[in-house]
């Protein structure tokens, strides 16, 4: 029962006939209005005549992959035409041939892609993937319960917080923050020693009961119901939670370093609506639209010109370090270096074994 050596073939496109898209994405990752509708998506549907079924189906890169991998391996439909996943996972999908090549001719707005993101290691020339949003992983705390606030990852291990600490099930973010706390440059050249030292820290905190919750995007539920008072989290989420639940939390990229990442659109092999998706991407690469999304989700937009568009909406927005980080902010965050297949297996298993406890 294994993935074969033969790569699956892309499905034939039926976009012309079927004006629809099924889009799987993370929670708290698109603009929502009070009625629960998605304003930018609705506008797109109106404009392009393409219906979009938007599902917050991604909680964690690994679990999402686990759910769809068998279909992907067979080249079958996974129930989504567009998925936004994190760089490293997108890299895996491309490697395994699970994605469809995008026709840049259909995405003229791709010209607005920030130059720094135009060429990435896992996808030369962005043939297979296009960034959706980027962001930081940092720490957050409940302002009401912890008026003193937190300054570093180290502070999470304060015994007073025993059992009320959460970390992400996203290995690169959790390990990235802990390693940086120990002074390791995660984008640099580190190896087993550095990783294992950080694993030991995490292992200790988990087995001591300091860390109770290890989750994907579901961590937000624990923040809301109070099970978690302080945690490693993703930047934009906190702003949105504060907007929905009253201003309760603070977010910080620690001095010693946070992580920086991007989530990217891909079209899975089995999708028959690639052209529709290309139209969707094109739409969201309109700076005005991008600014509208960014204003809501508070994540880093990959679209050049969005800052100017944001200025038009609200000048304060343009200075929001979460959306348009300046160099100082960016200097605090690092991209977790690319792992080889063997490393991925090894480190992944080590991290997973902590999630499973012992």
């Amino acid at each position: 029962s294994t993935g074969g050596a033969t790569k699956p073939k892309a499905a034939t496109d039926k976009s012309a006939a079927e004006k629809s898209i099924r889009w799987d994405n993370w929670a708290l990752y698109i603009d929502v209005d009070a009625a629960g509708k998605y304003p930018t998506l609705d506008a797109f549907t109106k404009e392009a005549g393409i219906k979009v079924k938007y599902t917050e189906a991604v909680d964690d890169n690994n679990t999402y992959y686990g759910k769809v991998k068998d279909q992907l391996a067979l080249g079958k439909d996974i129930g989504a035409d567009a998925v936004c996943l994190t760089d490293w996972m997108v890299g895996r999908l491309i490697r395994l041939g699970y994605t469809q090549e995008l026709d840049h001719a259909n995405i003229p707005n791709l010209a607005n892609l920030l130059p720094s993101l135009k060429d990435v290691g896992f996808d030369k020339g962005r043939k297979m993937s296009v960034p959706w949003q980027g962001g930081f992983a940092g720490i957050c705390w409940n302002k009401e319960k912890l008026p003193g606030g937190l300054a570093s990852v180290e502070d999470l291990w304060d015994p007073k917080l025993k059992g009320r600490v959460g970390v992400l099930s996203e290995m690169r973010d959790t390990m990235g923050l802990i390693m940086q706390d120990a002074g390791v440059d995660v984008s640099g050249d580190w190896g087993d020693n550095e990783f294992n030292a950080a694993i030991d820290v995490l292992k200790k905190q988990v087995s001591d009961g300091q860390v109770r919750n290890i989750k994907g995007n579901a961590y937000k539920e624990d923040l809301i119901n109070g099970d978690t008072l302080a945690a490693i989290v993703w930047s934009g989420d906190i702003v949105q939670l504060n907007a929905e639940n009253g201003d309760k939390w603070d977010f910080l990229v620690p001095e010693k370093g946070g992580t920086l990442w991007n989530d990217n659109f891909v079209v899975p092999v089995g999708s028959t609506h690639k052209k529709n998706v290309e139209e969707l991407i094109n739409y969201y690469y309109d700076p005005a639209v991008a600014a509208e999304v960014a204003a809501y989700v508070n994540y880093i937009t990959p679209v050049a010109g969005a800052k100017e568009a944001a200025m038009a909406i609200d000048p304060a927005l343009a200075n929001n370090q979460l959306i348009f980080p300046d160099d100082a902010t960016l200097a605090k965050a690092h991209v977790f270096r690319t792992l080889t297949g063997a490393e991925e297996q090894k480190y992944g298993a080590a991290f997973q074994s902590i999630l499973l406890g012992s």
Partner: protein, 247 residues
């Protein structure tokens, strides 16, 4: 009981994205169940209904046949057949789910609603056999003989005597199958591919907060089932009372 009440109450919560804190009472969620998120809740619910119904029909048919054979006939490999029927009940769901998933994968069957139905049918069969077997065993063979004695051909006897008498058992088995299928998550999770069933929908939503609409659907199913069961119980109790009186 507490969680049920909780679920029911929170189906009226005027919540937005996550349904954790109480934000006020509204009927909106009940009125607009299928309108949010492009009707994802309702679609999942619909899938569950289709799967439940199909698996129930298949498992009930196959299981009833086995039950009749086991009670009424002698055959070789009897004990082996019993073991084969018992095993699925003694196998943890993860094992069943993972095993089937591995099987579908190696044969190259894409997972969709059909694979879910196949999987559900599999684990329902044993329960059907157990339920119907008891009924067949308590069926007095003299009734069928009386049918033949009264000029009924074998087909007529089955149609007019055997089947109607087994019906309560068969219906009970069907109900059980449906309930098992409808509420199954673990096996479904391994074999559903892109298809979302109601429990799977809840599982997925668990990570981003269950929308109140899920509570609405669950509460509605619960109330409907309750009404059916209670009225069945009450009417059968009433019938028993009548019988006792006239007897």
């Amino acid at each position: 009981m507490v969680p049920i009440v909780y679920t029911f109450i929170f189906s009226f919560n005027d919540s937005q994205k996550s349904n954790i804190t109480w934000r006020g009472f509204t009927f909106d969620k009940w009125l607009n169940v299928c309108n949010v998120q492009n009707g994802a809740v309702c679609e999942a619910f619909g899938n569950s209904l289709i799967i439940g119904a199909s698996a129930t029909v298949a498992a009930t048919a196959l299981g009833t046949m086995i039950a009749i054979a086991i009670v009424r006939y002698r055959f070789r490999f009897r004990s082996k057949v019993s073991l084969l029927l018992f095993l699925p009940m003694a196998t943890p769901e993860v094992v069943l789910g993972a095993g089937l998933a591995a099987q579908f994968l190696s044969v190259g069957v894409p997972k969709d609603i059909v694979t879910i139905i196949l999987a559900h049918t599999m684990f329902c069969i044993s329960f059907v056999v157990v339920t119907v077997k008891a009924r067949v065993a308590s069926l007095d063979p003299a009734l069928e003989e009386a049918g033949r004695d009264l000029y009924g051909s074998p087909g007529q006897v089955f149609l007019r005597i055997t089947f109607p008498l087994l019906l309560p058992g068969i219906l009970a088995a069907a109900l059980l199958s449906f309930a098992l299928s409808f509420d199954d998550f673990i096996i479904t999770n391994f074999n559903s591919g892109a298809v979302t069933t109601f429990p799977k929908y809840i599982y997925i939503s668990a990570s981003r907060g269950i929308p109140a609409e899920a509570n609405v659907v669950a509460s509605a199913v619960f109330i409907l089932a309750l009404v059916i069961v209670v009225s069945a119980q009450v009417s059968s109790a009433a019938r028993a009372k009548r019988l006792a009186k006239s007897g």
